[in-house]
Symmetry: C2
Subunit: 246 residues, 2 copies
């Protein structure tokens, strides 16, 4: 999926960025110029989400008013409401945006890798690169720190996060079954992976002593350096056709 299409996957206000509510514009009817304009609008929408995330992190969700967010976006309040439904829906949109980018750049990239250990290693690499470079740090903070969402909106985000946990658990379990790694509790291994990777936004500085590729290499080495069984216990690699997926 093209990164520019992310914002368009969610329902938008009538008269807003995406045409009639819930109905994607038909690009083929409107030609190249509208496509460029669509991409511009989607970039604009992402920029609004990232700016709103910064304001919410700075002032807290309760402390940040729609007026504050509008000002930071260089919009009037009415202008901002052209792009968003409500403050709570904006928060949900920021979280869904974070999950969209994550799924597109991390999970969907590694799902097709047949070897579970290789899948986990590449997954760690891609997730670290996303946390260190992929979007504003504030989107990560909103996605992973104490949730202000309630009810159905919260359940929706929780379900998306749970899908990643299950994917990691299943990959670890598969690697154990195949004798690629020594026996570990797949749930603990999944959350050890997640903790190592997601804690990074709290301490990593792009201009610091450790660059992102070094971080990837060291983290992979710390987690997966531990897990291979002694050489004698290793089973031969499966043929590529015999894939199981978590």
């Amino acid at each position: 999926m093209d990164k520019g299409q992310i914002a368009a996957r969610r329902p938008q206000r009538k008269g807003g960025l995406g045409g009639p509510e819930g109905t994607p514009n038909s690009k083929s009817e409107r030609g190249i110029d509208s496509r460029v304009s669509d991409n511009d609008q989607k970039s604009r929408h992402r920029a609004i989400l990232e700016t709103a995330a910064r304001v919410i992190c700075e002032k807290g969700y309760e402390g940040a008013s729609i007026q504050d967010i509008a000002e930071a976006c260089a919009l009037t309040k009415a202008g901002l409401y052209h792009h968003i439904r409500s403050k709570e829906h904006l928060l949900l949109e920021i979280m869904n945006y974070g999950m969209d980018v994550f799924e597109e750049q991390v999970m969907n990239q590694v799902l097709p890798i047949p070897d579970p250990l290789e899948r986990l290693k590449v997954c760690m690499e891609k997730n670290i690169l996303l946390v260190t470079h992929g979007w504003s740090k504030e989107v990560t903070i909103i996605l992973h720190e104490h949730a202000t969402l309630t009810g159905e909106a919260r359940a929706q985000i929780d379900a998306r996060k749970k899908r990643y946990v299950r994917f990691l658990e299943n990959s670890f379990a598969e690697a154990v079954r195949d004798g690629q790694i020594r026996p570990v509790n797949p749930t603990v291994a999944a959350f050890a992976f997640l903790g190592m990777v997601l804690w990074i936004y709290k301490w990593f500085r792009p201009d610091g002593k450790i660059d992102a590729p070094t971080l990837v290499r060291e983290m992979q080495d710390i987690l997966f350096g531990s897990l291979p069984p002694p050489p004698a216990a290793r089973k031969p690699a499966r043929p590529a056709g015999k894939r199981r997926r978590g």
Copy 2:
């Protein structure tokens, strides 16, 4: 340090819990009864901090009023101000309380362990037990999620956290120098440790499938199972007298 003394280490309001501002009460002058009463007051103060932490997590720092916190503590607003200075100072107190308990139950317990690898393993155990049992989850959230503190108060908490990071880095570096573990970047290893341990509050459920002792064993195994060098590369253990400390 006795756990009951934690709250008394910080300056308190005149006429509040701890006698004249900044001056600890002299127990020897007042005998057993005042000691019991001191402990009661300190427990009461801790209970206020944990209750306030819950309200702040529920409503957000901006959204939680002093009135809300007072009500949750079954106090009048004036009654609450007898125990606290201001909302921002209350937040600082919650964080200092979290750091006090952490230092007392984790860092100070393991500092005297001469063997760096053993020190790190016991440290992981004690930190996991603290995160899973030691206090209300909300204290951990306030301590580690997006900080609302500013200026000097923030610098104070950051310095206390940094001390722990340095301790872990130095212990990993020492274990590498001694040939106990294979070469790792001590900073990455320290934050891998921290991420694994501190992410636990986000997913661990006391009534879940994984109990705390299992979690400790599995996490130690995942992190430290990786790090020993091949047996041939190991250096003999140092005599206990030759301690270096990070």
